[in-house]
Symmetry: C2
Subunit: 327 residues, 2 copies
């Protein structure tokens, strides 16, 4: 159950969403904030259940994130991964065991060990996430978009191979072109659904913010769940999107190239095209002020403000601006 | 396939067996040695497949074991476990997740991550173990006694609860009395079997050594597999057992108390009673020399020699004595 006085629901990916939430929870009571978090990036490695976006947000809100990398814990050690490298020499060529391309810090491993054990006991990802965020002293709600299986898949342009998100993002260091994004959301013959708490949050929040996350592979998976776009369309006048594209480039990650590869402009207008149907406002950075008319031509109100959240104070200012935009 | 010129097969538990194997592989070519290793202690924790006896032997033979603890890696760090403790406060009371009673070092975790990933890919424990020992540069064969599920269970005297070995051994610090040892060896309706390579080793080895491991919960599980005792009886004149009881006490662990609790004497004669049917020789420590006649009265030849392997050189001497015993 969401609190009745829920102020803000945030559709969230990883780093950009985490930083926005950090600012937002400085200006509204954290208990009134619910983040609906992408789980399309989730993966299993070495038998462990890994939820990168949930963990990035958790560690950021806990003030424990590594500030330079933007993921993982500050002051982390890497002894397990270094020891794992020993096995790369002996594993069969076809085996993915002993992979160290997805770097798991020693302290970060504890989160995956706990999550894996609880899921094996039958807890839902929603329940486990509440426990993990509780352990970190986080007061806002982090809600996995679904408790079902959902995997974002990317088609590689070069050879048509369809690979899970982390293979593209981490293993291939998002250095290759893609030709498609798809979602593998069936498990046991059943389509994974928007979880109940995110649904209630989208229905009841005074304001809905689409965080400055990758529109295609961070926000896209949430929107791909049945009913999400319908809910957003119905509440469009309460929905604000923040552009993750600034000056034609992604602040982090491959969103700019991905947009182009999938036929969009790598610009705030490209973002506006993707969000115009479900959001009434697009927040863009001051460097893109000249594109405000183009955004408004697509039917969105355009708010121009600094959006690069390089400090907590800038995150806070951006949150204030967003909240002021929708009474 | 075992090499045709296999010299010694060793029935092996943890620390005592590991130290004996270290000495043995100094005096015979490691390629001629096969350890048949107890897997009754194996467990799953946090989704990871853990094989304590296999790892103790691996780390010992690799010269990487922590010399003080006798288990785990030297120079180990514990950052993952320390971080895991955070979740003990938030987990539901009935949950076993986030347990830190079974301490897993950061570098040791790599072994479990690799094993878990390979097993999930369909590799057998025999195959995975060969890969792991290969990665550590170990030339003798470490053979899990079975590739099937096999769990040593202990009945607690106080309340009749039946608990897996590690619950008793680690969680309860083997500090409570037991009333029974049993084996849960069925998986998917089928009884787990002695693996093929251990069977071949027992059939072909010139000498079979029962390492100075706990007779009830380290060697007992191996002997509980169908056909093992028959093989040992058939080759009894080639089978030497080394007493893990010295001066009426176990060098490590609860073997002495367990023997008494289950109706045996905590002495070399108690050990002789357990092994007389399957071994023709019992090697006992010099402090127990006065009990040699009692051992021989049970139908075993008794060899008296220093058996406390506090240095590699003493392990080596013990191995030399054992090999000299059976031409």
């Amino acid at each position: 159950m969401m609190p009745a006085d829920l102020d803000v629901a945030v559709l969230a990916g990883g780093v950009g969403a985490a930083r926005f939430l950090r600012g937002l929870t400085m200006v509204v009571p954290p208990e009134g904030v619910a983040a609906i978090v992408n789980t399309g990036d989730d993966t299993e490695l070495h038998g462990l259940a890994i939820s990168p976006d949930l963990d990035t947000i958790t560690y950021t809100l806990a003030g424990a994130i590594d500030p330079d990398r933007g993921w993982g814990l500050a002051g982390e050690t890497w002894n397990a991964m270094e020891a794992l490298a020993r096995f790369a020499l002996v594993k069969p060529a076809a085996s993915a065991a002993g992979s160290t391309w997805f770097n798991l810090g020693d302290r970060d491993l504890a989160t995956h060990l706990y999550r894996t054990a609880r899921l094996a006991e039958g807890a839902s990802l929603t329940e486990v996430t509440a426990e993990i965020t509780g352990a970190w002293g986080i007061d806002c709600a982090l809600l996995p978009m679904t408790d079902g299986r959902f995997r974002t898949m990317l088609t590689l342009a070069e050879n048509g191979d369809v690979v899970p998100f982390q293979e593209y993002f981490v293993r291939l260091r998002h250095g290759v072109a893609i030709s498609d994004v798809s979602f593998d959301s069936r498990f046991g013959g059943r389509r994974s659904e928007l979880a109940q708490q995110p649904r209630e949050a989208l229905e009841s929040a005074a304001t809905i913010v689409i965080a400055p996350s990758n529109p295609l592979v961070s926000i896209g998976p949430i929107r791909a769940l049945d009913g999400v776009d319908d809910l957003l369309v119905r509440r469009r006048d309460r929905v604000i999107a923040i552009s993750p594209i600034v000056g034609g480039a992604a602040l982090k990650g491959p969103a700019d190239r991905m947009l182009v590869e999938l036929g969009f402009e790598a610009s705030v207008t490209g973002v506006a095209q993707i969000y115009a149907e479900v959001a009434s406002v697009l927040v863009i950075d001051t460097v893109d002020a000249h594109l405000a008319p183009a955004v408004e031509a697509l039917g969105m109100r355009c708010v121009v403000t600094p959006t690069v959240m390089s400090t907590p104070e800038l995150s806070r200012s951006l949150a204030v601006t967003c909240l002021a935009t929708i009474g």
